[in-house]
């Protein structure tokens, strides 16, 4: 008695999709599948990277939806020869306030005396500025001074701290100083001009990302200027602009026309952001083109296979298989394949971006989240492909 090995009824459904997709070569379908994989990954990556870029570059600037630019007057020959002032005049500031692309203007008032400080065994010249409180991006609870108070609260730029910890101290073979320690230390200050001297102690009460300077309370600055240089009018050496978009062309043209310098790093950041956006845009377009080509290739491959197998399809219909049932079986198989593609893409995205975000955390750039869009992109692409294939196959079979 011959034992029929393949007579396992329960599991032996003949897969009609295998019959329908008999073809000499599936290489075209494999290439299309790879293209869909790659394009899904590229497009999802660009989407996440764009979110990451925006997160980093806009982090300190775009609180409340505004950006802050610190500008000064360009120092040229005329300035050096005393033919023009390096400070902002009342009219110049008024003109800035009138511009509709500038939301608000804050003067950075400056010291008119020498400031010499000593800290951690180092002596250095420094400068003081003052700005109106609503432009300060640090806690100002302790940023108060009263006449007679020896200790002056200061707010310093985070950039200065970075320079101190990563340039000055290492060059002296000394360890970096954390923020919490800096806040507890004091800097001995000597304020001098024309033989007059005032001694104070400065204590750091906050750190700013917005203003590259050493900020002191306005009343202290006015007092010291008056005591040491006799000036009642404090000069304005720099100005902080509150704008919606620091890259706006009208703003840039205005600043260039008036020979105003923007703080270098902000400009570089803006240019970097533009370059990154363009690069990401190019990659996105590239990914999109690959996607379109892959979709076209997969459709044409499936159409080709169906044409090759039209006699078999006809035979199945003659045996009693419904056209709808045949389309459904085909789509289920293709959906399973697309499901595999999604299952391949999603973990890769998860692994790659978690590594990228771990690096960002290491460099204190913050920890953005993987956006929901990243997960939805490969799924959406698959849905679009499935719909396209459904429409084509339905037309072909009917």
């Amino acid at each position: 008695m011959i034992i029929l090995k393949r007579l396992e009824w329960l599991s032996m459904k003949v897969n009609i999709v295998n019959i329908l997709l008999q073809g000499k070569s599936k290489l075209g379908l494999l290439i299309a599948g790879f293209g869909i994989l790659l394009s899904s990954f590229l497009i999802a990556s660009v989407y996440q990277l764009f979110n990451d870029v925006s997160f980093i570059l806009d982090k300190s600037e775009k609180e409340e939806g505004f950006q802050y630019l610190q500008i000064s007057k360009e120092v040229g020959v005329s300035t050096s020869l005393g033919l023009s002032s390096p400070d902002f005049s009342v009219n110049e500031i008024a003109s800035l306030r009138k511009q509709n692309f500038i939301e608000d203007v804050a003067e950075l008032w400056s010291n008119d005396f020498r400031v010499y400080g000593r800290f951690a065994g180092n002596g250095f010249d420094m400068f003081f500025t003052s700005v109106k409180p609503n432009f300060i991006d640090a806690d100002t609870d302790d940023f108060q001074w009263e006449k007679g108070q020896v200790e002056i609260p200061v707010i310093i730029s985070n950039q200065f701290l970075t320079l101190l910890n990563h340039a000055v101290l290492p060059s002296q073979g000394r360890p970096p100083i954390p923020k919490i320690a800096i806040k507890q230390a004091t800097v001995d200050l000597q304020l001098t001009k024309d033989g007059k001297r005032l001694s104070y102690k400065a204590r750091v009460v906050g750190f700013s990302d917005r203003i590259s300077s050493v900020l002191v309370p306005r009343n202290f600055l006015d007092y010291a200027n008056h005591e040491l240089s006799g000036n009642t009018q404090t000069r304005v050496s720099m100005v902080v602009l509150k704008v919606k978009d620091s890259g706006e062309k009208t703003l840039r043209r205005y600043l260039d026309r008036n020979d105003y310098d923007v703080n270098g790093e902000q400009l570089v950041v803006q240019k970097s952001k533009t370059v990154l956006k363009i690069t990401l845009g190019v990659v996105f377009v590239f990914g999109f083109v690959i996607l379109i080509l892959s979709m076209a290739l997969s459709l044409s491959q499936i159409k080709g296979l169906i044409y090759q197998n039209k006699d078999r399809i006809r035979m199945l219909i003659l045996l009693g298989y419904s056209p709808t049932g045949i389309i459904k079986s085909l789509l289920i198989s293709i959906a399973k394949l697309l499901g595999v593609i999604i299952l391949l893409v999603l973990p890769v995205i998860w692994i790659v971006f978690n590594s990228v975000h771990a690096l960002m955390l290491t460099y204190a750039l913050g920890l953005p989240q993987l956006t929901i869009g990243v997960w939805l992109i490969p799924i959406s692409i698959s849905m679009v492909i499935l719909s396209g294939i459904f429409a084509s196959v339905k037309k072909l079979i009917k």
Partner: protein, 214 residues
């Protein structure tokens, strides 16, 4: 299910002098459980008639009604339901898939309705002497072996009518009788009728009606 043909003539023959006989442009009622013999010389259109009855061809004039409903009202999905549950067929050209095995060709049909179990199909295969061929690719079978597989496949569904287009043309007398016995048993089991077309008159079944196509 009653089959009602009224003045049917295939379009290629309309106006031609060759529309003769007892089928084209005539009226017939084939009642359930009838056994009909269509006697037709070569080229007279017996496969065309089978094609029309099975919904493979709609290039005809006249009227064909199945259980009172005109086939003109039937969609592709309706025909699929008929072909899987009402009307079975043994094609003259067999229409088997050469790259599949015999059993796979049978299972493709059987899995539509799961009419028979493994044991039942084995039993039927043994009755036709094709049990040992079930695992062979159809391409490697002889014409007679293929024909028996096609008959087996046609029986693996519930049906009201079984269409047989020269079903025993490649069988010897012994195998023909075995096939007839099986068809009789399954047709009776389904309380079904059959329509058999042949080049010559035969007495394979107790025919209710014999019609000549030419």
């Amino acid at each position: 299910m009653e089959i009602h043909l009224k003045n049917i003539a295939p379009n290629p023959l309309i106006g031609a002098f060759s529309i003769v006989g007892e089928v084209w442009e005539k009226e017939h009622h084939f009642k359930p459980e009838n056994y009909i013999h269509i006697l037709a010389p070569s080229g007279s259109g017996k496969s065309t008639l089978m094609g029309i009855l099975y919904g493979m061809r709609n290039d005809f004039k006249g009227e064909l009604r199945l259980q009172g409903e005109s086939v003109l009202n039937l969609s592709q999905e309706d025909w699929s339901k008929l072909r899987s549950n009402q009307i079975g067929i043994v094609f003259q050209d067999l229409q088997l898939l050469d790259e599949l095995t015999a059993i796979e060709n049978i299972q493709i049909k059987n899995q539509l309705t799961n009419k028979y179990t493994q044991d039942e199909i084995v039993k039927m295969a043994k009755s036709l002497d094709v049990y040992g061929l079930l695992n062979k690719k159809v391409a490697l079978l002889s014409r007679g072996e293929k024909q028996r597989i096609a008959i087996l496949r046609a029986l693996c569904m519930p049906f009201s009518w079984l269409l047989l287009d020269e079903p025993f043309s490649a069988l010897d007398e012994v195998n023909t009788q075995k096939a007839i016995a099986l068809i009789k048993a399954v047709t009776a089991e389904n309380n079904a009728g059959l329509i058999l077309s042949n080049l010559y008159s035969d007495s394979y079944f107790d025919y209710t009606k014999k019609v000549r196509m030419a």
